[in-house]
């Protein structure tokens, strides 16, 4: 027991905050990007839909290391985009917290997008038609009718997105690296301490991750259950 106490007292808590910050920001970005993309795809013609849907879902299907490799190619300072960002705008993606966010967003985004799309496609098209014949603008229909009606799907998409972003490992380690206090997330810290044979520290971090995940899912279910009174119980 004293051993755990010693570890806890000397534990570097930075991975917790880096993971949480990354998870929250990546979920925030995926939320809007996913809904935006889902809305566009639902309206698109079947052929366009098939192609765009494939591209948007790819990061979820590919091994995260492959996605990370692509991101590295894209943002490397030896490549045009990375060069431009670094030299013209002073933005560093590789080996930085921004890299953490980009990696987590790219990997978690498909979950938001797919859930939002499924929720939108479930909506009775007549609701949208009714809004249009009443003269409501498409934007207004979306915000006041489609989005609230799709609420449960959006909520579950958000939960999954956060869970995925919080635990992202493969792409993050390739793009952002594992710099203590900067880009070292909980997942990366766990992998590192296990390599060092420090199973006790790994166990402590594992418990922390389980705790966070559970609390967040519980909170989201609570919120969505309360807000979405139009959901029928069966």
């Amino acid at each position: 027991m004293s051993e755990i106490g010693t570890i806890l007292s000397r534990l570097d808590w930075s991975p917790l905050f880096i993971s949480l910050k990354t998870g929250v920001v990546a979920t925030f970005l995926s939320f809007f990007l996913g809904i935006f993309a889902a809305r566009k795809v639902v309206k698109a013609s079947p052929r366009v839909k098939a192609v765009v849907d494939g591209i948007l879902t790819l990061p979820m299907v590919l091994p995260p290391t492959v996605a990370g490799f692509f991101l590295l190619l894209l943002f490397s300072r030896r490549r045009p985009l990375g060069m431009f960002l670094y030299h013209e705008l002073g933005i560093k993606v590789v080996q930085s917290w921004l890299g953490c966010i980009i990696a987590a967003t790219v990997i978690a985004f498909p979950l938001m997008y797919r859930n939002a799309r499924a929720a939108f496609e479930q909506i009775d098209a007549n609701l949208v038609y009714a809004g249009r014949t009443l003269g409501m603008s498409d934007l207004r229909i979306f915000w006041t009718i489609v989005l609230p009606t799709a609420g449960p799907g959006i909520a579950s998409g958000t939960i999954l997105t956060f869970a995925r972003a919080l635990g992202e490992f493969g792409a993050t380690s390739m793009l952002a690296g594992n710099i203590p206090g900067k880009t070292a997330t909980i997942s990366q810290r766990i992998a590192m301490v296990i390599q060092d044979g420090d199973y006790l520290t790994a166990g402590i971090w594992t418990l922390i991750v389980i705790g966070i995940a559970f609390v967040f899912i519980f909170l989201m279910n609570l919120i969505s259950g309360r807000v979405l009174t139009n959901v029928q119980r069966w």
Binding site: D124, L134, S137, P148, N230
Partner: protein, 351 residues
């Protein structure tokens, strides 16, 4: 004419090709499911886009394929009552109605108008309820309220009673007819229910396979439905191919009988129709020996299937329907029908 429609739209193997006009009247479109009724309404509302043609409402061009005009639904000012009413499930009844008033900027006016329509439609008590908590009839009124506050220049009703319990329909039909009496614009209702069409509509168009075959005043249509689909859709149970054999006489091969008609027979005669309740055991004309095949009792009527003596076996039996006070002790040996009740059916006119 308030509304003029002349459109063509291909959907798969189905071709919608319809042309009609609607004034300040209650116009019915009667057709079986899949005949293109709803598609026609959706084209008028701007939900579907026709391939070709023109739609004009009160002089305003809603759609014109040649001039490349296709107004979005928002600019057409056309009310559409959906079959499932399409109330927004995330809003209360009152919020739904306020959606129809989104154009009104003055908050006091907006609330007052919502109050007025809710009173008119007896929705005051339901204002705070959600669509899932109200009955079908109430949902219909709420959806109608949402449309009426929106002040559309045309009202379209898509099978408005099909989602309601049968025993409620008659009352709701009366309510709706009374409510819309002073509406002052055209109303188009599509339905497959001939009773509903008869009760509600000033004129009725018969729609079959994407075309409006004929359009006439309701009572005239039921008296003379002109085509086979017209007779079928107005509920005629007995329709058989027929040949002209005289100016006022036809031969029906399936039943093997010659029938006298009141109307003069045209050369292009296709079939005859006899409504099930037009037969009579004591009729003096068109009277032939029959054999009753089977019977079924209804609450206030008897339905009988019979065959003419010379009727070939593969031809379906003929229907006869009569009220219970006309019930005889024994099934009749012969049945007749007045010449005036022989409906002459011709091929639909092209175009």
């Amino acid at each position: 004419m308030a509304l003029e429609v002349n459109i063509e739209k291909k959907a798969g193997s189905f071709l919608l090709k319809t042309a009609f006009a609607c004034g300040t009247e209650f116009l019915g479109v009667l057709g079986s499911s899949g005949c293109g009724k709803s598609m026609t309404l959706k084209c008028i509302a701007g939900i579907e886009k026709p391939d070709k043609g023109r739609i004009v409402l009160d002089g305003k061009v809603l759609f014109d394929s040649e001039k490349k005009i296709n107004l979005p639904p928002q600019k057409r000012h056309v009310g559409y009552l959906f079959q499932n009413y399409a109330l927004f499930p995330n809003m209360t009844v009152r919020q739904n109605i306020l959606c129809g008033l989104h154009f009104e900027k003055d908050k006091a006016k907006k609330e007052a108008e919502a109050d007025r329509v809710m009173r008119l439609l007896q929705l005051e008590e339901l204002g705070d309820l959600r669509p899932s908590q109200i009955s079908g009839g109430q949902a219909q009124r709420a959806a109608l309220g949402r449309i009426l506050v929106n002040q559309p220049d045309l009202l379209m009703l898509d099978e408005p009673f099909s989602a309601l319990d049968y025993h409620l329909r008659l009352r709701l039909q009366m309510d709706l007819k009374e409510l819309l009496k002073d509406y002052g614009h055209g109303i188009i209702m599509v339905t497959h229910d001939r009773d509903e069409a008869f009760r509600m509509c000033d004129r009725i168009g018969i729609m079959d396979q994407g075309r409006i075959q004929l359009l006439k005043e309701t009572k005239q249509l039921f008296r003379d439905p002109e085509t086979v689909s017209g007779a079928t859709l107005t509920g005629c149970k007995n329709i058989a191919k027929a040949e002209k054999t005289g100016d006022h006489e036809v031969f029906v091969p399936a039943w093997n009988v010659h029938l006298a008609t009141r109307e003069a027979v045209r050369d292009d005669l296709e079939a005859v129709g006899i409504r099930a309740h037009y037969f009579h055991p004591t009729a003096r004309q068109n009277c032939f020996p029959v054999t009753v095949v089977r019977e079924m009792e209804e609450p206030f009527e008897w339905v009988t299937e019979f065959r003419y003596e010379g009727q070939s076996p593969e031809v379906p039996a003929v229907w006869w329907r009569y009220t219970k006070d006309r019930r005889l002790n024994e099934p009749p040996a012969q049945l007749g029908v007045a010449p005036a009740n022989i409906m002459l059916l011709y091929p639909p006119e092209e175009g």
